[in-house]
């Protein structure tokens, strides 16, 4: 026993250090914030309504992606509550009636110096939304938003894995993730293709 004490201690220390790094660090590094409103994509996109992404996430006349729609678009259907879900009740009372925009926390918001033309990817390269955003459009509820306490960026940029190793194609939106796909598609890159 005493012969292996050093090794056991090393192993124990290693496991403890890994636990701190893999489990403890994300808790310290990211703060978790709930979305201001629970929204079910599945309700809108599923069999019931069958809307597609572009119905709400539109481009403007200059081809610029408009991101999350404003409260006016919600109001076209939800002027008054259609169902009896508490989330819808909250939407109508807290945002539509007082005509306030919902302060959404955008999971995929990139740093300011990134220029991402949605049109080039969805229109020209015909890449589906799911390729980068995952099955978000079919989710039943909005998961909590995790913000990096140091950089202030969404955790989705780095990916769910603390090591930055993607488990799915949409897990992680780092520069390397963009670049990998570009290289696979033989796109010659320079810095200013994506940076502004």
């Amino acid at each position: 026993m005493s012969r292996h004490r050093g090794k056991l201690m090393f192993l124990g220390g290693l496991i403890a250090a890994l636990a701190v790094g893999w489990l403890g660090l994300p808790i310290v590094l990211y703060e978790t914030i709930d979305q201001p409103l629970q929204f079910s994509h599945a309700t809108h996109t599923g069999d019931l309504l069958g809307m597609d992404c572009e119905a709400c996430h539109t481009f403007d006349e200059a081809g610029r992606f408009c991101g999350v729609p404003g409260i006016a678009l919600c109001a076209t259907c939800h002027e008054e509550a259609l169902g009896d879900s508490p989330a819808e009740q909250h939407l109508v009372e807290a945002f539509i009636h007082p005509n306030l925009e919902i302060p959404w926390l955008v999971y995929a918001r990139q740093p300011d110096n990134v220029f991402f033309p949605h049109a080039a990817h969805t229109v020209l390269a015909e890449i589906s939304c799911e390729r980068c955003h995952g099955p978000h459009g079919h989710s039943d509820r909005l998961r909590p938003y995790q913000r990096n306490r140091i950089s202030g960026y969404s955790r989705d940029i780095w990916g769910s894995n603390i090591a930055g190793i993607a488990s799915a194609p949409w897990d992680g939106m780092k520069m390397g993730d963009c670049s990998r796909c570009h290289r696979q598609r033989g796109i010659v890159e320079s810095c200013q293709d994506c940076h502004k």
Partner: protein
């Protein structure tokens, strides 16, 4: 697959010195377009941020022979052995093979300023202060250009944000390429006398092509062999003498041997005093 996000172009400029009145509209337009911060007063002449800067040239002769001209100087987007790109230790600046535009990525920049030492045009600027703008000006920022932080180098990128927006609009319409008139730098648009011309240097159909191949065209410090993509136009002999010494673009002597030092000396004498030749003959 889709290698041709854009077609290969070589963007360049021709600036007509004879037309330039030195009004500085290009400098203002540039600063507004690119969210350039305003350094505090101690910045003075040499610590400011002017991606394009208008210099005053003078022939240093007394009236009535006194002549003045103005030279808008911006990043020359050198095409060969680009001095700044080759020295940057961490790829914070690169030259886009698709467009020939020399970029600067401030988020990657260490602020070592080696590129500034390498640039003979002084077209690169360091952010000596934390960026500040007059109160409320943040509200009218150009969303297509990201403001820079303190301690990095920045410079002209031919209003690249405009090109990105143009490409995006084209993409939304299903086009991979942009039309010539869809992308113009801000300085060009602001110039009240139309002294600035911009376009693809390789496209013979463009007006720019004729301008840069005309007799009035020359490039600044062409002799250094860095193939700048900004051409200057002037018919005034004193301007041409001052800015352009007529040395061939190739860095080495054409026949590969020793440069003709005597001829060079003669040229320099002429450049300094154009009448020397006449006096010598008489």
């Amino acid at each position: 697959m889709s290698r041709n996000t854009t077609h290969r172009v070589r963007y360049g400029m021709a600036i007509d010195i004879d037309r330039c009145t030195g009004c500085g509209a290009c400098m203002v337009a540039c600063a507004v377009e690119n969210n350039v911060s305003v350094p505090p007063p101690p910045a003075g002449d040499r610590k400011g941020l002017t991606w394009i800067r208008v210099y005053r040239l003078h022939n240093e002769r007394p009236y009535p022979e006194s002549r003045t001209a103005y030279l808008p100087l911006l990043c020359q987007h050198c095409g060969h052995h680009t001095p700044c790109v080759s020295v940057c230790p961490q790829h914070a600046t690169d030259i886009d093979p698709e467009t020939g535009i020399v970029s600067q990525i401030p988020e990657r920049c260490l602020g070592c300023r080696y590129c500034m030492a390498a640039c003979p045009y002084h077209a690169r600027y360091f952010t000596w202060w934390d960026p500040v703008w007059p109160a409320g000006m943040e509200e009218i920022f150009n969303p297509d250009v990201s403001p820079r932080m303190r301690g990095v180098v920045e410079k002209c990128n031919f209003c690249h944000g405009r090109r990105q927006v143009a490409l995006q609009r084209a993409a939304a319409e299903g086009r991979r390429q942009i039309r010539d008139d869809e992308y113009r730098p801000a300085c060009l648009e602001a110039c009240p006398v139309g002294a600035i011309h911009f376009g693809n240097l390789d496209d013979p159909k463009q007006e720019l092509y004729d301008l840069v191949h005309g007799e009035r065209a020359f490039r600044l410090l062409e002799r250094l062999g860095t193939e700048p993509k900004i051409y200057y136009l002037s018919s005034q002999p004193w301007v041409r003498r001052l800015l352009h010494n007529g040395i061939p673009a190739s860095r080495r002597h054409p026949d590969g041997g020793r440069p003709d030092v005597a001829a060079l000396r003669h040229q320099q004498v002429l450049a300094r005093d154009p009448r020397a030749e006449e006096r010598r003959r008489s």
